[in-house]
């Protein structure tokens, strides 16, 4: 029984680590419900395992993305300030938040983001709109360059509306502090749609940032005893392997394809968030 449980947990973790690395999401939103409903794991233990697994997704995929220089580290480090500040703000007000309202609003914004991305895909053959750096991005030299394996060419891009994306990341941080979820579903669309960052770079940069906020929450979870080694260890091991493989696969995929998958997943996540917000 114990062995079978471990095997199932491994498989769930492999899948969500793979998807997480591919899409720049933590993967917790996929993993937690699967563990609770399929394996009967108590929700706080599943959340604890998933938050440690998000650290694994981030670090394993970033080790690949950073080496291949797809990650925009400067942009990531700049936005990290917004997300960590936001998480601190959110966590400080956790007692005041009406969770169901928050989930519904969050779900609606995810669906809105996915619709905007879908609209953009219809009008553009590439996964982003190429624009030059704005003044702030120019000053901090946030624009990036990476070699796109699928296209076989070097891609250079500028970062626009930097302050807007900084503000959105701050809000994403607040929401993740309040609801205890990663903000990948918000950060990727913000970078891609608002700041004109190519999809692959946005995914890689989101993965890079996620580890930091997740690490802070993970320590708190473990200190509170919400960590069962027999659940967390297989989940984290599976996630490590899944996200490493995911990060290697991403290089060979087209940005437009990634964006399509992202739009679909975001829509599902939004619906799920609204459903849980209104009490289903």
């Amino acid at each position: 029984m114990q062995l079978l449980f471990t095997l199932y947990a491994l498989v769930i973790a492999l899948g969500s680590g793979f998807l997480g690395a591919l899409l720049g999401l933590g993967g917790g939103v996929i993993m937690v419900p699967l563990m609770v409903f399929l394996l009967g794991v108590p929700i706080h233990i599943a959340s604890g395992a998933s938050i440690v697994a998000v650290v694994a997704t981030s670090s394993a995929s970033a080790s690949v993305y950073v080496r291949d220089e797809v990650t925009n580290m400067r942009l990531g480090m700049f936005l990290e300030l917004a997300t960590t500040l936001g998480a601190l703000t959110g966590a400080s007000f956790v007692a005041l938040a009406a969770e169901s309202l928050l989930k519904t609003v969050f779900g609606v914004s995810l669906i809105y983001a996915s619709l905007v991305m879908w609209y953009q895909l219809r009008n553009n053959r590439r996964s982003w709109v190429n624009k030059p750096n704005d003044w702030l991005a120019e000053r901090l030299s946030l624009g990036g360059t990476y070699y796109d394996e699928a296209r076989g060419e070097e891609i250079s891009y500028g970062v626009t509306r930097t302050l807007d994306t900084f503000g959105i990341s701050y809000v994403a941080g607040i929401v993740s502090g309040l609801l205890g979820i990663g903000g990948g579903g918000v950060k990727v669309p913000a970078m891609n749609v608002v700041s004109s960052v190519p999809m692959k770079a946005a995914v890689a940069t989101s993965n890079f940032m996620i580890g930091v906020t997740a690490a802070a929450s993970a320590l708190v979870y473990i200190r509170h005893g919400f960590c069962d080694g027999f659940v967390t260890a297989p989940v984290v091991l599976g996630t490590l392997v899944g996200s490493y493989v995911g990060a290697r696969v991403t290089g060979h995929l087209r940005g437009v394809f990634l964006k399509r998958v992202f739009v679909a997943v975001l829509l599902l996540l939004g619906l799920r968030m609204i459903a849980s917000g209104v009490g289903f």
């Binding site: 480090m77 930091v212 979870y221």
Partner: protein, 114 residues
């Protein structure tokens, strides 16, 4: 440009080392737990010092939790490494960014809010 590349190599290696070390400890810890049947994780609240030093050091469940701890410390060490690199490069704005993020994390940790 060369120096930026340099930072990327450091960060990538650091992340990979952290991931591999924690993965190894987790596999070892899980294996030992199964072999010995000793699942004596301290119940309830767990201290950072237990995760680091164990009681006794390196008994099966401590091996496992040391693995978790190293994994969680990896992204934080990444910020420390890039702060240092930015200071060496005299990129003051980014050094300050890294240090502020560390400070915010420290504050959240002290407040226990994560």
């Amino acid at each position: 440009m060369e120096r930026v590349h340099f930072l990327e190599i450091i960060v990538s290696r650091l992340l990979r080392t952290g991931v591999l070390a924690s993965g190894f400890l987790m596999v070892a810890g899980l294996g030992l737990l199964w072999a010995t049947g000793d699942a004596s994780c301290p119940a309830g609240v767990m201290s950072v010092s237990w995760m680091l030093f164990g009681d006794p050091f390196l008994e099966p469940s401590h091996v496992l939790f040391l693995g978790f701890f190293i994994l969680i410390a990896t992204p934080l060490l990444r910020i420390v490494a890039s702060a240092t690199a930015h200071i060496v490069e005299r990129d003051i704005v980014f050094a300050l960014l890294n240090v502020s993020v560390l400070l915010i994390l420290a504050v959240s940790f002290v407040l226990g809010v994560g």
